[in-house]
Symmetry: none
């Protein structure tokens, strides 16, 4: 399996490449958009990792280009940004998964493995967490294969959770990711409770497990471990 790592922070790039090489992947690296495009036009990669916070142009454009050039390559976004728009945008442009910095290399490895398995075994572009599957292109969610009906807020909430697994997410940041654009509504975050309650209920009613754990005083964590 051959990978391309597009990352301008040399230290991070090195540690990623080193780790993935140890995992028996064949790795190449690029530090800029142009280099990434050039390399990907010559070689065929099973999976491309892209840091969309790369300087010198929007990373999202690179994703569009890469996806056009190499429809077969899996695409994983690495981002320092914490913005829902960027993620949805990236996923809509055809990325298969994404990872928010900082991340564990083992987590990256797991994502790559999952992506390659999906890519080569069923070709579905979905985010899978245990019995929950999210299809961002359709904004559809299934539990044990049965589709459940989520409201927009619940869907955003779930997406924010599953893309930040095992992390403690503050109610403030959750509110931002549900609310969309309004950033100065710090007065009352109680509506979070309702959305979490409703999401939990729908997942449980569909026979799923409640992975949403409250972390007292800190927020919530979507934990499958």
């Amino acid at each position: 399996m051959k990978l391309l790592v597009v990352e301008d922070e040399i230290a991070l790039q090195r540690s990623i490449v080193s780790y993935l090489t140890d995992m028996d992947y064949i790795c190449e690296a690029a530090t800029s958009f142009s280099e990434a495009l050039m390399k990907s036009s010559v070689h065929e990669y099973d999976c491309i990792l892209v840091d969309i916070t790369l300087p010198g142009g929007s990373g999202l454009d690179l994703i569009r280009e890469l996806k056009q050039q190499h429809k077969e390559s899996g695409l994983i976004i690495i981002s320092a940004k914490d913005s829902l728009d960027d993620r949805l945008h990236g996923l809509n442009l055809g990325a298969d998964d994404y990872l928010t910095k900082p991340f564990h290399l083992s987590e990256l490895n797991a994502r790559i493995k999952a992506l390659l398995r999906r890519k080569y075994f069923n070709g579905m572009q979905t985010i899978d967490v245990e019995e929950i599957t999210i299809d961002p292109s359709r904004s559809a969610v299934t539990v044990h294969g049965n589709e459940i009906n989520l409201t927009k807020s619940e869907y955003r909430l779930l997406l924010y959770f599953v893309t930040n697994r095992e992390r403690v997410l503050s109610k403030e940041s959750i509110a931002e990711h549900i609310g969309g654009d309004q950033s100065d509504m710090l007065d009352n975050l109680d509506f979070i409770y309702s959305h979490i309650k409703n999401l939990r209920k729908k997942v449980l009613d569909a026979g799923g497990t409640d992975y949403v754990k409250a972390v007292y005083g800190m927020g919530y964590k979507f934990s499958t471990v």
Copy 2:
């Protein structure tokens, strides 16, 4: 943690330095443009506070210089002006945060804390001290690999300790770091005893060592030597 305070109003400079020293930061001060550049070229500071209304040259130029000189230092602008332009300008030149006069010292402290946290903990995978491992991205703490469950205050306390190893931390500064946001006047610091007791107990129960040493009459020191 080492800070440089660039402020020409002596009274304000004194009160800032005095307060931040109480918070157990190591502080140095500069009263002019040239002094700031000189000091910053000799020492490496974790964070530099700049009053951009400094006489003898535009403070924004100083920011540009400082940022060129020391890309690693965090940079917080202090200004009497309340203009959006100045703020944007400063941030565009590479400042990390911005504070408008007059401000509460506790507010300044909060900004510094947040900046240092971003600077040092984002991108860092874990903080390891002997058998204790802290994963800031997950707010998780393990002792000998076993996760222990800390409350918010205990977690903040531990984080403050491990990032200031071998230094005596006053009860006042510890209280500040636990309290987080509201920080006016803390008449009674006894609650620290409870948090320290609980943190010690949880670490010991997990088979760890108690590195929290009381320094009679001075405060506490997290010492592994």
